[in-house]
């Protein structure tokens, strides 16, 4: 049993409930007395609210409460401002609306139709103001300001402490990273390349829409069921908004139907609680698909990248300007921009680096975390340009990467030392998987052309962060496990159970993960940043070790043997002359058929490594992707024949789960590469539905997807494991773009890579011009 647990694709603990339709998601749950909450949204992109009249809405039969700015202006019991980094969002618009879809009022009614009728009855008088819809416009001198004042909370994230909004501008934050002297770097280079790359706004498109149910108990305790990936952040923010101790806020989370970063930080919770306070009833808000698109997006980006290279391919200097479009509210944009900046130089040793990464406000829906978190933006630029460089130097792109890629002990752009780096292995294995170097002869009469491309990445995890775990042993030796990690589909319940089962020598059936309830489980920062296996997994391991320590202590006391002669292994406690089950120990300890032992484990990462060096990331994600494509030169359509994803996972605790994560990320990457794009017309999103915002289907995925796991164990990770959730997504677009270039010689710099863009570039190529000339 023991040797089978870690590294074995055991039956996942959530799957039976899911295949039988019995897994409960929030919209499936019944709450007595619940009423329906709906949101009135701004019809304009930017405007001042001159006046508002909700009296007619209150007269609609069945309406229980209407919440507008009047409930918060001059109300000292509620602080309507919130936001994970800056307090720039409010429960409903107070003075201005900042994007088309910005919440202006909320209604709670006994039926959905009454709520809708009430929304229509609210009169709002707007003074329309000029608006900006992209980062370049937003940066222009004299551009309309999204925010005149930005409130900075007194206690923020430690890693973002240095970031402040730039006054009287749309710059939300500016992150700078320099190493060496980039001008010198360029001067010493033989070649300098400069390119601009862009990515559009996209959306997570979890099939489950955001939902919340909130009520306020007599006595003021707030209870919130939410589809959130970080309940403890919600608890803190609600405690700040409604001015109650965190113990008076209880957040519960059922299974989540997909997150991908889209369900982090407050979304509907503040408004739902405000409505519930007023209605004195539980209020449920479930977003429509269109509203989901208006709630959170992935940052569009404009990236200028300039690279100096020596004749032999040595990267010598890189300057990069990243402009990320965070929309109307900062959300977690400042951190996205920071992470984007950190990795804009790519996973390469470059002595001279200068990076400026800006988080910019515009009058669009707020952008936040999305699987790949800023790195999928910067890697699009960096990894595409690598192949531009390789082509110019007539070098093999694989060779160029291997020449410069980080290896064990190299110094990262921040000056810190990189350890446990399986990058070059990932690159080589991904390349090998698509038969790198094998060339098929081209059939010149066919319009189809084949090509291969590569891309690789480095990404940080959120640091510092905190995860705590409790493991409660019952009288029969089975355990309940308490964790703040949310099962969003990534398999955390299973992996954490495996770790506990392994540590305590139990079967999977003896381990049960408790439901997520902030009243019960100890603090965890967030289920994001691919951090749960590493952090929570380790916390679980420590909790088990704590528990084993207690067992050892108890056995020593109860059986009067020296502690050093007690061993806890293979699910048993061994003392000289006897082997005792957990049950026996607990029974002896408590003298009845009941009683618990509780082990605790805490993982706190810091911005300083154990050796006192600066530490940007508790561990690094390293990986690579390789694609083989077939391009139809006459139409520009691309077929991905094969995609190989390689990631340094440290240790694959559940190999099938790792494969699912790598492959799933690759599939999302394919959508982002070829067609996903939110299209705006003067601030209006014109495709907020799955007919016009297209998602990848079974027929769009590469014909073969191979997932390769490189295992370079991390000393801090549980059994050596690192995170994996995001790694697979990041290289997809540049790897495919590079393969397209390899196939037909055109370079697409703006995502998505539509057939039209390829076709037009091919046409320009035939005419002997480049797209820029046209």
């Amino acid at each position: 049993m023991k040797d089978q647990m870690i590294g074995s694709s055991v039956r996942r603990v959530d799957h039976e409930a899911k295949v039988t339709g019995r897994a409960q998601y929030l919209a499936d749950m019944k709450f007595p007395g619940v009423c329906c909450g709906k949101i009135l949204r701004s019809p304009i992109a930017h405007g001042r609210i001159r006046g508002m009249d909700a009296s007619a809405a209150l007269r609609v039969p069945g309406v229980l409460a209407v919440v507008t700015r009047d409930d918060f202006l001059n109300n000292s019991r509620i602080d309507p401002y919130y936001g994970p980094v800056f307090k720039d969002q409010s429960i409903v618009a107070l003075d201005k609306v900042r994007f088309m879809g910005d919440p202006v009022a909320g209604v709670a009614a006994v039926t959905e139709s009454a709520a809708e009728e009430a929304l229509a009855a609210i009169q709002v008088d707007y003074e329309e103001l000029p608006a900006v819809f992209d980062v370049l416009e937003a940066r222009r001198e004299g551009a309309p300001l999204v925010h005149e004042i930005i409130r900075v909370p007194p206690h923020g994230f430690e890693d973002l402490a240095g970031l402040r909004p730039k006054e009287s501008s749309n710059i939300c934050t500016h992150f700078q990273l320099t190493r060496g002297d980039v001008e010198r770097g360029f001067a010493e280079s033989d070649h300098v390349f400069e390119d601009v790359f862009t990515l559009p706004d996209t959306q997570h498109s979890s099939l489950e829409a955001h939902a919340v149910v909130a009520w306020v108990e007599p006595g003021g305790r707030i209870v919130v069921w939410s589809t959130t990936q970080n309940p403890f952040v919600i608890r803190t923010q609600l405690s700040n908004i409604f001015r109650v101790p965190v113990s008076q806020v209880r957040v519960l989370v059922p299974y989540i139907g997909g997150g991908y970063g889209g369900k982090l930080y407050p979304k509907l919770e503040p408004l739902a609680v405000a409505l519930a306070l007023k209605a004195q009833r539980p209020v449920r808000i479930v977003l429509s698909r269109e509203e989901v698109f208006l709630t959170i997006t992935k940052h569009a980006a404009h990236i200028r990248i300039k690279t100096g290279v020596k004749n032999d391919g040595t990267l010598w200097g890189r300057e990069c300007e990243v402009l990320l479009d965070t929309g109307a509210y900062a959300e977690i944009g400042p951190r996205v921009a920071k992470k984007s900046g950190y990795t804009a130089a790519g996973p390469y040793r470059i002595p001279h680096v200068k990076i400026n990464s800006y988080c910019m406000y515009t009058h669009k829906p707020p952008a936040g975390a999305f699987r790949g978190f800023g790195v999928s933006q910067s890697a699009w630029a960096c990894e595409s340009q690598m192949d531009i460089i390789a082509a110019a130097l007539k070098m093999d792109p694989l060779e160029l990467r291997l020449k410069n890629a980080y290896e064990e002990g190299d110094t990262f752009a921040t000056g810190e030392t990189l350890t446990n780096v399986g990058l070059t292995d990932c690159i080589k294995r991904a390349a090998r998987a698509v038969g790198w170097g094998d060339r098929r002869p081209r059939n010149s009469s066919s319009p189809l052309a084949r090509g291969k491309g590569l891309a690789c990445l480095i990404k940080a995890t959120i640091t510092p962060s905190l995860s705590s775990a409790l493991v409660k042993m019952n009288e029969d030796g089975s355990v309940n496990v308490y964790t703040g990690t949310i099962e969003v589909g990534q398999g955390s319940e299973t992996v954490l159970s495996q770790i506990v089962a392994e540590e305590l020598g139990l079967t999977m059936e003896q381990v049960r993960v408790a439901p997520m309830d902030t009243d019960v489980v100890p603090y965890d920062l967030t289920t994001s940043s691919s951090r749960s296996t590493f952090h929570m997994g380790k916390a679980m391991q420590l909790a088990c070790q704590d528990l084993k320590g207690q067992l050892r202590e108890l056995a020593s006391q109860l059986y009067k043997v020296p502690k050093d002669q007690v061993r806890v292994e293979d699910g048993k406690v061994t003392i000289p002359d006897a082997s005792l089950s957990y049950r026996e120990i607990l029974c002896t300890r408590f003298g009845m058929s009941g009683g618990n032992l509780v082990g605790q484990g805490v993982v706190k990462t810091s911005m300083l490594s154990p050796t006192g060096e600066k530490s940007t990331s508790a561990f690094w994600f390293l990986g690579a992707g390789a694609a083989e494509v077939e391009v139809d030169r006459e139409t520009g359509r691309v077929r991905v024949l094969k995609y190989a994803s390689a990631a340094d996972v440290g240790k694959a605790i559940h190999p099938l789960g790792c494969r699912q994560q790598l492959e799933g990320a690759a599939v999302t990457g394919v959508g982002q590469t070829f067609f996903e794009q939110m299209v705006f017309d003067n601030g209006q999103l014109i495709n907020p539905n799955f007919i016009d915002y297209v998602l990848p289907s079974l027929l769009d995925v590469p014909e073969v997807i191979e997932s390769l796991m490189v295992e370079v164990p991390h000393p801090e990770g549980p059994f050596g494991a690192k995170g994996i959730g995001e790694t697979g997504l990041i290289p997809v677009a540049p790897a495919i773009a590079n393969a397209i270039y390899d196939a037909v010689g055109v370079r697409i710099k703006d995502l998505p890579i539509t057939p039209e863009k390829i076709f037009m570039a091919l046409q320009a190529q035939r005419e002997g011009t480049t797209l820029e000339d046209r």
Binding site: I691, V694, M760
Partner: protein
């Protein structure tokens, strides 16, 4: 969705009477795949839905060597796709149906609804027009027949009068030496609505070289399916030649009137019309030469 009254007539006549009685406040309901979308959005709020699915004479696929193929208005996409009769007589129809929307829409959506709804981004009309299909229409004052081409007027707009019901589609038996090819082109996901669709049909003279009839029907490049008549005229009555196909394709590309939208710019769509006509024509020609009584 706003509430409405749900009516279930038992005969075509009764259905027409209901439509006449309620005018613009009533709408025919069959598969409901398209109607439900606009109703949910609030774009259209009928007071009455007239469900015609309980009417017995509107179903069924029939084949008669002389008359051709008759499709009841309630025949679903999925029936077209899987019917052995269709696979034997008009395999082109079942082939294209495999790619229409998704399995659930094909199960629910009807041929009659697809045509009478006149949604611009769709596949079936191009093929049926290329095959010179006609439709039967019932009204309170009796039946009439018209060519399918005449049905389409504008986006979502047909020449049906408000109290008329499309009851049947008639596809004539293809003349000997006929071949048809349809290419559905998507510019994003394979399952996206078509960016454009191109049907090319030839009927050859006995020499198997000369084109007697040519049909080039373009979809999604105008408010209605569009016959590229200049392209057809260029091909008809002449020997089939690659060069002439290229010229015809260029004509078709100029004749259509695509709009720039999410699925491609006007310029790109024109180019693709050229490519697709060039690709479809030789396949249609080869099929015509190999004609064995089916298209």
């Amino acid at each position: 969705m706003k509430n409405f009254e749900y009516l279930e007539p038992r005969s075509v006549q009764e259905a027409c009477q209901l439509l006449r009685q309620h005018g613009e406040e009533a709408r025919i309901f069959a598969g409901g795949t398209s109607l439900s979308i606009v109703m949910k959005q609030g774009f259209f709020q009928p007071k009455y839905l007239v469900n015609i699915k309980k009417i017995p004479d509107l179903t069924g696929i029939r084949w008669d060597p002389k008359r051709g193929l008759t499709l009841g208005a309630l025949v679903t996409h999925r029936e077209l796709e899987t019917s052995p009769l269709i696979q034997e007589t008009f395999p082109i129809l079942s082939q294209i149906e495999e790619d229409v929307a998704n399995i659930r829409v094909r199960v629910m959506g009807t041929v009659g609804g697809n045509l009478a709804y006149a949604e611009p981004l769709t596949d079936l009309p191009q093929i049926l027009i290329a095959l010179e299909a006609s439709i039967r229409v019932a009204g309170p004052d009796g039946d009439r027949t018209m060519s399918l081409e005449e049905l389409f007027v504008d986006y979502y707009e047909t020449s049906l009068r408000p109290d008329e019901i499309l009851t049947e589609v008639l596809v004539p038996t293809p003349p000997p030496r006929t071949g048809i090819e349809y290419i559905r082109f998507s510019s994003s996901s394979v399952i996206d609505k078509p960016c454009l669709g191109t049907a090319v049909r030839f009927t050859l003279e006995e020499d198997l070289e000369t084109v007697r009839t040519a049909r080039v029907v373009l979809g999604c490049v105008a408010p209605t399916p569009l016959r590229a008549r200049q392209a057809e005229a260029l091909l008809e009555g002449k020997r089939y030649e690659v060069q002439r196909v290229k010229e015809a394709a260029a004509f078709a590309s100029r004749e259509c009137k695509p709009v720039s939208d999410l699925r491609g710019s006007e310029a790109y769509k024109r180019e693709m019309v050229r490519v697709l006509v060039t690709r479809a024509a030789p396949r249609a020609f080869e099929k015509a030469r190999a004609f064995r009584g089916q298209v």
